[in-house]
Amino acid sequence: MSDLSAIDHGQEAGFGDYVQLLKPRVMSLVVFTAMVGLIVAPGHVHPFVAFTAILFIALGGGASGALNMWYDADIDRVMRRTQGRPIPAGRVTEGEALGLGLALSVLSCLMLGLATNWFAGAFLGFTIFFYVVIYTMWLKRSTPQNIVIGGAAGAFPPMIGWAAVTGGASVESLLMFLLIFMWTPPHFWSLALFMKDDYSRAGVPMLTVTHGRRAARRHILAYTLLLAPFPLALALSSIGGPVTLAASVVLNLIFILGAVRIVRRDEASAEADGYKAEKAFFRFSLAYLFLHFSALLVEAGLAPFGLGGW
């Protein structure tokens, strides 16, 4: 491309646009939960190896984000929330996103395998496959349960962190997975309740669109109730302790109360106050997950002093 044509084009990507392709905000959740999985796992890894592992788990998550943006570019162009992303905005081409996503996927799995063990590397590869192929390409556009099953991809990072240290899986790592897995549906459905027309305009079969908003409210409560036993079991497991148990009881009570408030409201009252309860529930859901994993960190941090844990 000559300089002139580049200037005419005027939409050349900056470095930040490529960073944007990796969905840095989603990455922060991946980094945090993978780090907790790695720290609470029994055994020892050199801090530099641990740092490398978290970095490449995050990069793998970023790579799947880029592949998601490549495949979903048509949806992103329609939805208001995503119109500013690099591909719909015309700063990065779909091919570039695909190339970056594929290259970073291979690199992150190889590097995680080399730095820690091949089980962890393969697990990361499976997670990327699950998010991109099973969720993005298949379920997201075909079933209103897309969020439920797709949530598994976001729930794998603590298991990968655990696998990086132990080379395997266990009841504890599975419980961390189940905590995020069961938390994802109420989290996203509450978002779908107040992001109204976006999903329907894009033709994504969100529960709020296919089964109605009343059903979505009931589903939020059902999943919030189904979720509660898993963090409580996690608190009673070998990586939990009194701090986690106390935190979990309080957090689950608040979460369930929030879900009850949502199910009791109808659309008219929700619209009247600008979806206040739904927005509050969504914000609290972020704190819910963050505080559960923080409690596990506290238990691990107290262990050297003879405190924390059971």
């Binding site: 580049a6 050349e12 900056g14 470095f15 930040g16 970095l55």
Partner: protein
């Protein structure tokens, strides 16, 4: 006024190239650090079986 007014796109390209350069440097440093850690662990007695049997 300068004779040659630089187009904004050159700044963006510079930023992109610098960013990529820094990422590559960081990657080199990471591989180096990882190598040092792995080799020093080997020296601590965790020799691979082939070497240990010699």
């Amino acid at each position: 006024m300068a004779l040659r007014q630089e187009h904004e796109i050159y700044n963006r390209r510079l930023g992109r190239n610098l960013g990529l350069g820094l990422v590559l440097l960081a990657f080199v440093a990471l591989i180096f650090g990882l190598t040092v850690v792995k080799i020093s662990h080997l020296e601590e007695g965790k020799l691979p079986s082939a070497e240990a049997s010699q």
